[in-house]
């Protein structure tokens, strides 16, 4: 039988590399906050067909940005993106995305002014050129972000308490602590991926983290549950072996569950990606990472750590005796 416990260091190193890359990105680039957290204004307008060509994109973007800045006297930037029309023509169209920084968040009236001016100046002809607009004052963004962080902290605390109560049989607190270490690991991996790929952090991210916290705990609990059961049945087997056996016995389940969940969420991601639905894309991506990490950490991180702790305790006791 494969002995995962003896190979534990490889797994620890793999996780450490990802998290380290995250830390480096943090100092190099920092978090990219979504406008939901940072504040600011984003206006999306539907461009005319053929308006953007490969040659003029750069120039046209600058031109629109300058025009917007002139209209409302606030610095802005413009980016061309593409969206996919599923309903009618099944074709893609270009989107003019106007960004205004958080310190200059537009009022509702200014948003309307910008839209009307740009539509007129650049002669946007589609039926309703305004695709979407979002404006968030920085103080609200801060509030939403703090709420999110509070939610993560509270969920963590509650889950630790639950795990503790439920697993007192197998020296509850330490089991709970290592389950949480495993979950912390998943959260760190998710955060690292966000930092490395510079994905905007918003409320979806918080929701994804909480989902993964619950989900990954679920994985760990399944393994612990088996350890608990084997503990009763096989009192003579040494702990490392017992834990390893328990992991192997539940391995099929661990993998299959992750497979079904990943099938679901990856399908969502692919559909969103292909059709350019950014909000769903940004929501499903961290879930994919988190769910994969959750399964990985339950098998390769949380359980080996628990054994290491138990073993070291035994040694200390032996020394004292």
């Amino acid at each position: 039988m494969v002995n995962l416990y003896t190979k534990r260091n490889y797994f620890f190193i793999l996780s450490a590399i990802i998290i380290l890359a995250g830390i480096v990105s943090y100092f190099a680039m920092g978090f990219k906050l979504d406008i939901q957290f940072e504040g600011g204004t984003v206006i999306e307008l539907r461009a005319n067909k053929g308006m953007f060509t490969d040659a003029n994109t750069q120039q046209l973007q600058t031109q629109i940005a300058e025009f917007v800045t002139k209209t409302i006297d606030k610095p802005s930037s413009v980016q061309k993106s593409a969206a996919f029309d599923v309903n009618g023509s099944n074709s893609s169209y270009d989107v003019i995305k106007i960004n205004i920084g958080s310190e200059n968040t537009l009022t509702n009236a200014e948003v309307t002014t910008v839209e009307e001016a740009v539509i007129k100046e650049f002669k946007l002809t589609s039926d309703d050129p305004v695709i979407s607009e979002e404006s968030v004052e920085p103080f609200i963004g801060k509030e939403i972000m703090q709420n999110g962080l509070k939610a993560v902290a509270i969920a963590f605390a509650l889950i630790i308490i639950y795990v503790w109560i439920r697993f007192r049989v197998m020296s509850g607190l330490s089991a709970g602590v290592f389950a949480v270490v495993g979950v912390l690991h998943d959260v760190l991996i998710m955060i690292s991926v966000y930092l490395i790929f510079q994905i905007p952090v918003n409320e979806s991210f918080i929701a994804a983290i909480l989902t993964v916290v619950g989900y990954s705990m679920n994985d760990t609990i399944i393994i612990y549950d088996r350890i608990r059961e084997n503990n009763r049945l096989l009192r003579k087997v040494p702990l490392p072996e017992l834990v390893n056996d328990s992991i192997m016995q539940t391995l099929n389940r661990s993998i299959n569950t992750v497979v079904t969940s990943l099938i679901a969420i990856t399908t969502v991601y692919i559909f969103a990606k292909v059709n350019g639905i950014v909000s769903i894309e940004e929501f499903s991506f961290p879930l994919i990472i988190g769910i994969a990490a959750g399964c990985y950490s339950s098998i390769f991180i949380a359980s080996p750590l628990y054994v290491m702790w138990k073993e070291s305790q035994k040694k200390t006791k032996a020394v004292k005796a």
Binding site: A83, D85, N87, T107, N108, T112, D128, V130, I131, S132, E133, E134, S135, V136, E137, I140, E143, G148, K150, A151, I154, A155, L158, I159, Y162, V163, R166, E203, I206, A207, L210, T211, V213, G214, M217, N218, I221, I222, D225, R226, Q249, N252, R253, N256, T257, V259, T260, S261, L262, I263, A264, I265, T267, V268, F271, N275, I277, S279, I280, F283
Partner: protein, 452 residues
């Protein structure tokens, strides 16, 4: 299949069929029951405006709950008069804002994004003497035109003359009434007018729409008046008094409302997202079923039936509980179908193990369900905790995700555990369903080594 098991098996199929019918058509046996079509889509799906109107006071103090309610009543009244009945208006007293959500409707002249701040403007409130001979078609009085000198005279009080309006239980205790307090100047004007108009009505207008027209019983000299709601049934008086008091107060609110967060999504973008998510949902569902049947064979097929039941029940739950479904909500829905089969995976793996340990099929299924249950329970409770916390702390779209997750996980106990168990027990009694291969255990392993 033994009789009682057959009955159970087929009742699950019949229930699934009935629920599916309801979800698909929104009616059953002549009764209208809300189905999947009646699920309320969020702004990000339907397109529309989502705005937080913050109450900005001059001294920076937090506005009172009563005043915020008053602002909400005003906004609702204005939306009513624009025929916008499909909307959400809620107040966050802690943070001091009114949240307004209005879905886009095709071919509507009213553009909610442009008028969102208009909606929150201080109301034009007047108490007027009326010309009783002239009435609108709906029986309300016609407000004075302030540009005409002779009509302007009819205006008795304006917004700032009202210091306060509160709803309170009426003296005889049978219902509710509104108590008004006027400013010193307002009191003078009101005293003069009421002395003159005993037995005649004084109409109260908000934005030139009549909201009430009480008849003056006696002269009111001291600037405190009461409006009773004799025409209203007693059980509706409390709500009406509160609303009317709020509307009367709206002309003199100590703050103005400013849209500090606005999110506007065009209907085309929204419906695009919806059709894509539905496609993703169908594809994910089919893929998971293929996986389950491929890996677990007969139990996998039963799990697929249970998963279908799960989906139908979740859609109905969302519809019946009037939960707004946003894009993250749909993502949650899809995620839960992935997670719902988790319970089945745990149980089926256990059954496989028990078969390998040499137990009979019947015992293996029994023991498998029993032993796996604690694991399923523990695992789902942590997800429930996470969902509940999200529900408490998240804003709209994320709360929708929390709801779908929560409902999905709870329903999985009914479908993945109970329904699957009943069906599997029933089917496993059939002779042809007894071969271990049908449970994903190769025959040579049966009775062989344990602990693969």
């Amino acid at each position: 299949m033994r009789g009682s098991n057959a009955v159970k098996f087929f009742s699950i199929l019949v229930i699934t069929g009935i629920l599916t019918w309801i979800a698909a058509f929104g009616s059953f046996a002549g009764f209208d029951i809300p189905g999947a079509k009646d699920i309320r889509p969020g702004i990000d799906i339907q397109g529309g405006v989502d705005a937080k109107l913050y109450a900005i006071t001059e001294d920076g103090k937090k506005p009172s709950e009563k005043d915020l309610d008053s602002a909400r009543f005003t906004i609702e009244k204005r939306l009513d008069s624009n025929n916008i009945f499909d909307r959400v208006v809620t107040v966050d007293y802690q943070k001091g804002y009114v949240l307004v959500q209005i879905p886009h409707k095709k071919g509507e002249s009213f553009d909610p994004q442009k008028s969102i701040e208009e909606i929150g403007k201080t109301a034009l409130l007047t108490f007027q003497e009326v010309d009783e001979t002239k009435k609108n078609a709906d029986g309300t009085y016609i407000p004075a035109d302030p540009t005409k000198e002779d009509e302007k005279k009819r205006i008795i009080l304006q917004g700032q003359d009202i210091k306060d309006a509160t709803s309170e239980p009426s003296q005889d205790g049978s219902g509710f009434q509104i108590s008004l307090k006027m400013s010193d100047e307002g009191a003078k004007k009101f005293a003069e007018a009421t002395a003159r108009l005993v037995g005649r009505p004084i109409a109260i207008f908000m934005d030139n729409k009549q909201i009430s027209a009480p008849v003056v019983n006696e002269a009111i000299p001291n600037g405190t008046a009461r409006i009773s709601l004799n025409g209203t049934p007693a059980n509706e008086q409390k709500a009406e008094a509160k609303e009317l008091a709020g509307l009367i107060k709206s002309g003199a609110l100590p703050f103005k409302l400013e849209a500090k967060q606005v999110n506007n999504i065009s209907p085309t973008l929204g419906s695009n997202a919806l059709s894509v998510s539905i496609e993703a949902f169908v594809v994910a569902f089919i893929l998971i079923c293929i996986f389950m049947v491929g890996y677990y064979r007969l139990p996998g097929f039963i799990a697929a039936i249970a998963l279908f039941l799960h989906t139908v029940m979740e859609l109905l739950a969302l519809s019946w509980m009037h939960i707004t479904v946003t894009l993250p909500g749909i993502a949650g829905l899809i995620l839960t179908i992935g997670m719902a089969v988790d319970a089945n995976v745990i149980i089926f793996e256990r059954i496989k193990e028990e078969i390998r340990d040499g137990k009979t099929l019947r015992t293996a299924i029994e023991v498998g369900f029993k032993r796996a249950f604690s694991a399923v329970l523990d695992g789902n409770i942590t997800t429930i905790i996470a969902a509940l916390v999200l529900l408490k702390f998240g804003t709209g779209p994320i709360q929708s995700f929390a709801y779908t997750l929560l409902i999905g996980v709870i329903l999985s106990f009914i479908t993945a555990v109970t329904a699957t168990r009943l069906m599997l027990n029933a089917v496993s009694d059939l002779d042809i369903a007894k071969h271990p291969v049908l449970y994903g255990v190769s025959a040579r392993l049966k009775g062989g080594k344990a602990n693969g």
